[in-house]
């Protein structure tokens, strides 16, 4: 029997909702009033509740009632006109995750319902030959569609581009996509990370140097500007550059010339510059930390990349992509992804965005036994670049009367509690091997149910 969508939304949205539900193989049961709507939810325990946050019968209080039921958050699907941060947060707090935009689109609803069906059973990965090799940008949701449109527009002109977005959102991939779709596609794509390179080396990396220009200049070297001649140069983390270098970049952009360190004259370069930053450059301009003239030079075309938490509709696609990618790379067959894994991934806040998800999937594929990625294969905490033990230390400390063994027992118990008993994650946090942790758990008489 097909599943049911039990809806309480505005009358105008009902037509599209019904179409979307049917398209995804669901039945559609609309309601006008809260009490019969809630009764229907009790009668149909696996039904999906679709509630408009600004709909009849007071959307938010009604959604809260649904969310408070057992599994309520998982059953709840919300819609709202526009996507303010406040509404998105409300949806997250209610456990509903994605917020559908109003006016409702049948395609959006169908996609979300299909995605939820997958979460119920997990995702089975397509056969390796059906997976694309390495598509540059993954995600077919609304936010990525906007980005793809902006890429096409930027590729059609030859002026500089400024990409902004949080760390790990894929700015370099977007820069490559712009290059690949532009008339410069047959030329080189060269990237440089302005934050990674110490200032005394950055100038020579950008503009090149003559042999012997400074200690370590063992041979004449072309700079990245020159290497990008005829193509595209990505200045990643451009906001981290010093004001002195910003002036030199501006000159290169304005005059199409660079000067090698220790060189005797300018060299002509023809490179399209794409700047990328995770900073609020307009604010940095106001604070005089970034040159206004360079900002306006770069910001002729501006593309803002959404954080992963605002494009969770793409999460499953990304998971399939990375699972396939790492399965091929490590030669470890992965048949699918367990539904609990998807739930946990959706519940994570993704401070590191797609870069973090990629790392999580990299580890998960390596740990995966038996073909299906399961919760114990996830390491959401340790997927982050590791922090020092000092940063991980409890802020409240331990009383000075505790023995070392007591501290150890207490700390291991806390970490196991934090990782929901997942031994692999706990071992990662504690910085010890899983077997060592198992030995300690047994020796210290701690009960754990390794998953």
């Amino acid at each position: 029997m097909s599943q049911t969508v039990i809806g309480l939304i505005s009358e105008e949205g009902e037509g599209e909702a019904e179409l979307g539900a049917r398209e995804a193989g669901f039945q559609w049961r609309p309601f006008r009033r809260a009490s019969p709507f809630l009764e229907a939810l009790t009668d149909v325990p696996d039904g999906v509740a679709l509630v408009s946050l600004e709909g009849p019968e007071g959307g938010v209080p009604l959604a809260t009632k649904v969310a408070r039921r057992p599994d309520g958050g998982d059953r709840l699907l919300l819609s709202a006109p526009g996507a303010s941060l406040e509404l998105a947060l409300t949806a997250r707090e209610l456990g509903a995750g994605l917020l559908l935009r109003e006016p409702l689109s049948a395609a959006d609803l169908a996609r979300e319902l299909r995605r939820r069906s997958r979460i119920e059973v997990g995702i089975r990965l397509p056969a390796p030959e059906e997976l694309a090799d390495d598509p540059e940008l993954v995600g077919s949701g609304y936010a990525m569609a906007q980005v793809v449109r902006a890429i096409a527009e930027a590729a059609g002109v030859d002026s500089p581009v400024l990409l902004s977005g949080e760390s790990g959102t894929g700015k370099e991939l977007v820069a490559r996509a712009i290059h690949g779709a532009s008339e410069r596609q047959s030329g080189p794509f060269v990237a440089i990370n302005c934050a990674a390179i110490p200032e005394h080396l950055l100038e020579s990396e950008l503009f090149g140097h003559e042999r012997g220009a400074f200690t370590g200049a063992v041979a004449r070297k072309e700079g990245r500007f020159q290497r990008a001649h005829g193509g595209t140069l990505l200045l990643d983390e451009v906001g981290d550059m010093s004001l002195i270098l910003q002036a030199k970049i501006l000159r290169a952009l304005e005059e199409g010339e660079v000067e090698r360190v220790g060189g005797s004259g300018p060299v002509r370069v023809d490179a399209r510059v794409v700047g990328a930053t995770n900073r609020k450059l307009d604010q940095e301009v106001e604070e005089e930390a970034f040159r206004e003239d360079l900002f306006y030079r770069l910001a002729v075309n501006r593309i803002t990349l959404p954080p992963l938490r605002e494009r969770l509709e793409d999460l499953e696609e990304l998971v399939v992509h990375f699972a396939g990618h790492f399965s091929r790379r490590y030669g470890r067959p992965v048949a699918g992804v367990d539904r609990e894994v998807l739930r946990r991934l959706r519940a994570h806040s993704w401070p590191g965005n797609v870069r973090e998800l990629r790392n999580v999937m990299d580890r998960a594929v390596q740990r995966c036994q038996g073909g299906w990625i399961r919760p114990e294969d996830l390491s959401l905490g340790s997927a982050a670049p590791r922090l020092s033990a000092r940063e991980r230390a409890p802020v409240d400390g331990y009383p000075p009367t505790m023995s070392l063994e007591e501290v150890e027992r207490d700390h291991i118990a806390r970490v196991l509690d934090y990782t929901d008993g997942v031994m692999a994650d706990a071992a990662d946090i504690l910085g010890i091997h899983r077997n060592t942790l198992t030995r300690k758990v047994n020796a210290l008489g701690l009960r754990s149910e390794p998953r």
Binding site: S167, A196, E205, V218, P351, D362, P385, A389
Partner: protein, 425 residues
């Protein structure tokens, strides 16, 4: 009050000896920049980008001053003891005071002062009637020179000690000197010489008996030479014998450091045999067992190397980052260059166009801490390989040539010919 990066602080302050203890503590106290955690440059971060708050620096000063006071007190104590001994015409006492003083300074992380004290001790040798009493000074001096990568001095001191010990039929010191001379040959990549040195050592070690720790050390060192000469089955046999001897030392289970040394050596043999999965397990066991930060860093770098070769660059990077954290936190910063070399290779494998910054940072650390030239040669070799791999052949060759020159000067013929082959490729 904003936090400053280590690099900003280093640029601000003059490079004077007196500031070094404080700056070392500042390095250890600094933390990774949380804002860069997920940026593209985050994986390329090094000690230079770590942040420290000015008030943290204030807090470090009393501890640093206390350490300087202790070290200076120990040095002055050594001087006073030696002066008293000389005034009593006790040349042997003066020599002993200088040697003990040198060992104390070395253990407090001041190899330069330790070396100066040893040099002063060695100047006393001729005035001491019993020549064999110079043995502790020579052995201590040899160990210091070896740790500083001054292998010719180390070899010469070990050989002098061996001659004296042989003449005095001092079995213990002769075994130590002969094994030490062999170890220096291993450091220099002179495998045939190492074998002959260990052959001589064997006669002395046998006389000590199989329960002496030197017996399993010698077997393990022979295993290293056999591994380096690609005689892997023989390496395995020596390793097994080393393990049997080490196990026979005690009725109880082997202690952590011994298990760590043996598992690490086992991992290296397995790695050389291409059994990387087993090598990974061995290195992980070694890491579990190791206690000393120095050893843990070495093992972690070995583990990262295997993980990288198995294509698991993400994990390799995490293990190497843990090693960096350990090296900084435990103030074994001379190990940082090897950590940054492996991180550079990891970053290159993960497709970072700017992975070179990690090799540059390794060179900075070597310069800043005045580390042995061999570290510079090793870094230039890794950097040169990287440059060649990314198409900067001319630059890569120039770096490799400099590495080869250093290795030739140090007499490391094995490593020199390896680098020469890379230049000719």
């Amino acid at each position: 009050m904003k936090s400053l990066s280590i690099e900003e602080i280093r640029r601000l302050l003059p490079d004077v000896e007196e500031l070094r203890p404080l700056l070392e503590e500042v390095d250890a106290a600094a933390r990774p920049d949380a804002e860069r955690r997920w940026t593209a440059s985050g994986e390329l971060g090094t000690v230079g980008e770590r942040l420290v708050r000015p008030d943290q620096v204030d807090g470090l000063i009393p501890e640093v001053m206390e350490r300087i006071r202790e070290r200076t007190a120990a040095l002055y104590g050594t001087a006073a003891q030696a002066i008293h001994a000389l005034a009593d015409d006790d040349r042997q006492g003066a020599l002993d005071a200088l040697v003990h003083g040198a060992e104390a300074q070395a253990s407090m992380g001041h190899p330069g002062v330790a070396e100066a004290l040893i040099a002063a001790a060695l100047r006393q040798i001729d005035a001491v009637p019993d020549r064999s009493s110079a043995l502790p000074a020579l052995l201590s001096g040899a160990r210091l020179a070896r740790a500083a990568g001054r292998w010719q001095a180390a070899e010469s001191r070990y050989l002098k000690a061996l001659t004296l010990a042989r003449d005095a039929d001092d079995v213990q010191q002769a075994a130590t000197a002969a094994v030490g001379a062999g170890n220096v040959a291993v450091d220099r990549g002179l495998w045939a010489l190492a074998r002959s040195r260990y052959d001589e050592a064997e006669t002395w070690v046998r006389r000590l008996g199989s329960e002496a720790p030197e017996s399993w050390h010698l077997e393990l060192n022979r295993s290293i030479v056999a591994r380096e000469e690609d005689r892997l089955l023989e390496a395995e046999e020596h390793w097994k014998r080393a393990k049997e001897l080490a196990t026979g030392l005690s009725d109880r289970e082997m202690d952590g450091p011994t298990r760590a040394i043996l598992s690490n050596a086992r991992g290296q043999i397995l790695h050389a045999r291409g059994l990387d999965e087993e090598a990974e397990v061995a290195f992980k066991h070694a890491l579990d067992a190791a206690r000393h930060p120095d050893a843990r860093v070495t093992i972690a770098v070995n583990l990262a190397e295997v993980l990288l070769e198995r294509g698991r660059a993400l994990e390799a990077g995490e293990v190497a980052r843990d090693a960096e954290e350990l090296a900084l936190g435990a103030r074994v910063t001379p190990r940082l260059p090897e950590v940054y070399r492996i991180l550079g290779r990891v970053a290159a494998a993960r497709g970072h166009a700017d992975a070179f910054v990690l090799f540059e940072r390794a060179l900075d650390v070597i310069r800043g801490q005045r580390l042995p030239d061999v570290e510079r040669a090793r870094t230039l070799e890794a950097y040169g390989r990287y440059d060649k791999d990314r198409g900067e052949v001319q630059t890569g060759r120039a770096r490799l040539r400099e590495a080869a020159q250093i290795l030739a000067r140090l007499g490391c013929r094995g490593a020199q010919s390896r680098v020469q082959a890379l230049i000719n490729e």
